[in-house]
């Protein structure tokens, strides 16, 4: 079964990634560079995305409240819960998977087909650790901050649209956004993000590292990296939600 073969190869690769690196001293610089590429360069797209998601959730909630028995502050409450529990973590990570995953797979894949990885190996450098470990550490560290930013921007976007469109007053939205707030919901979202960050970087790196052939295969690896990352993130989302919320 190819899936078992892939899981085996992935496990062996991760074993190499987390084995003792050649020189610890060079890693901080690599990690900081990856944090910039993975995290800081995604701030714009993440902010834009959650801003509109928050706005759409607020409008949809407002348009679905027909009964007079349901208070208007529900708009703030629903927006906050949707953004914090699911949109800021899962949807944002899916989007980052598309951007960062394809970038990682094509970068490592190009290095593979142009013999740069072989050059590292011949020098006696653990190429898997040197190339992949900084990406994993950087993503696991920086993506939770992106998610926290997304929570803030998403709720702010929802508030802006809901208030400006006259669907709810600022006081009502504020009341709803604070109603029954549990810090655990934020923690749950951040915990999920740690797993998602690991999945998107390691799976994309795996596909890039195992690229063989030429430019066509790099493109295929890049596509596979995104598709597999997204599917595995969705499965992990389901399992983590079961474990953490129920």
């Amino acid at each position: 079964m190819p899936i078992f073969s892939s899981v085996g190869k992935y496990s062996i690769l991760m074993g190499r990634v987390f084995s003792r690196p050649e020189k610890f001293r060079v890693y901080p610089q690599l990690i900081i560079r990856e944090m910039d590429k993975i995290g800081l360069q995604s701030v714009g797209i993440v902010s834009l995305l959650v801003l509109f998601m928050g706005a759409v959730v607020a409008i949809q909630t407002a348009s679905n409240i027909e009964s007079g028995w349901i208070p208007r502050w529900t708009i703030g409450y629903t927006t906050r819960q949707s953004i914090i529990l699911e949109f800021s973590s899962t949807v944002v990570c899916l989007i980052i998977s598309g951007k960062v995953g394809s970038n990682i797979a094509s970068e490592i894949g190009t290095m593979r087909i142009s013999d740069q990885i072989d050059a590292l190996d011949i020098m006696g450098i653990n190429s898997a650790s040197y190339l992949i470990l900084p990406k994993i550490i950087a993503a696991v560290f920086i993506i939770p901050f992106l998610v926290l930013l997304a929570m803030f921007v998403g709720v702010a976007g929802g508030a802006s649209i809901a208030i400006l469109s006259g669907n709810v007053s600022f006081a009502d939205f504020e009341y709803g956004a604070q109603y029954d707030f549990r810090i655990w919901d934020v923690a749950y979202s951040v915990i999920k993000t740690l797993f998602f960050a690991f999945i998107m970087t390691s799976v994309s790196s795996y596909h890039g590292y195992n690229t063989h052939g030429g430019a066509l295969e790099v493109g295929q690896s890049s596509t596979r990296a995104v598709v597999y990352s997204i599917v595995i993130i969705l499965v992990a989302d389901f399992l983590l939600t079961q474990l953490l919320l129920l």
Binding site: E22, V26, T110, S114, Q116, D118, D121, I122, M123, G124
Partner: protein, 251 residues
């Protein structure tokens, strides 16, 4: 010196190397020649440990490379330099950073010492003033010279060169050939060149091993290759009309 004893390698049912044995001498440019698909590159990858052999032994000096673990191999690998067919320079690094990379990873040289050594190496390969350029800004010949500079950065004992002249014009090819020869003598390296470029062979080869169907079927030097009576070798060496005319004149 590098010694191969009975190297065998198969991929599925396809037996690529069939008991290859030979030795590559120190301070000499040793060529492995042969048609495409005869096993030269696989043998090269086996020698540097990128592909594991199925049977046989590879000795670097007196050390059996094939029976070493990862950490033992790492020590040997610091004595190996390799120039790849496409140079395999790290795209995200400048010429200077490419050359300094092995120094950074394996030595405790200060930045000043690394810069000084880089200057010396750049001068040796004729790339003075190009240290800040990136691989995308280099010509094919400059990439090869940068690759060579990186390969010799740690003063290796063994140098592997894969198709040094592919994609280069004749003048640049001869320049790269001469550079390989000069560095081999200067550092007293055991140099192994994988090639099917007869101009290179005639220009700089000290010893030549001709590979056919996963075996060395002829070994000799650049003088004897022109008079050898081996039919497969003759087909390879005198494949072009030009070489046939040279052969006739040589006779």
């Amino acid at each position: 010196m590098i010694e191969l004893k009975g190297i065998e390698k198969s991929f599925g049912d396809n037996k690529v190397l069939k008991g290859v044995s030979c030795s590559f001498e120190e301070g000499k440019v040793n060529f492995i020649i042969g048609k495409s698909g005869e096993g030269k590159t696989v043998l090269n990858k086996c020698m540097v440990g990128l592909v594991e052999v199925d049977a046989g032994h590879i000795y670097y000096g007196n050390e059996d490379f094939t029976s070493m673990d990862r950490w033992e191999r790492k020590k040997v690998r610091t004595n190996i330099g390799m120039l790849f067919q496409g140079a395999a320079l790290f795209d995200s690094m400048s010429v200077e950073e490419n050359i300094q990379f092995p120094m950074k990873m394996f030595t405790s040289l200060t930045k000043g010492e690394r810069d000084k050594k880089t200057e010396e190496i750049l001068e040796q390969v004729g790339l003075q003033g190009k240290s800040k350029l990136y691989p995308s800004e280099l010509s094919g010949g400059m990439k090869k010279r940068t690759g060579l500079a990186r390969a010799i950065a740690l003063n290796p004992k063994y140098l592997f060169v894969d198709e040094p002249n592919s994609g280069l014009d004749p003048v640049t090819s001869i320049m790269i050939d001469k550079l390989v020869k000069q560095l081999t003598q200067q550092y007293n390296m055991t140099t192994v060149v994988i090639s099917h470029d007869m101009n290179s062979v005639i220009e700089i080869a000290d010893t030549i091993h001709f590979m056919s169907k996963g075996e060395f079927v002829w070994s000799g030097d650049r003088k004897s290759i022109l008079t050898a009576q081996h039919p497969l070798l003759n087909d390879f060496v005198f494949a072009s009309q030009f070489m046939k005319e040279i052969k006739d004149k040589f006779k």
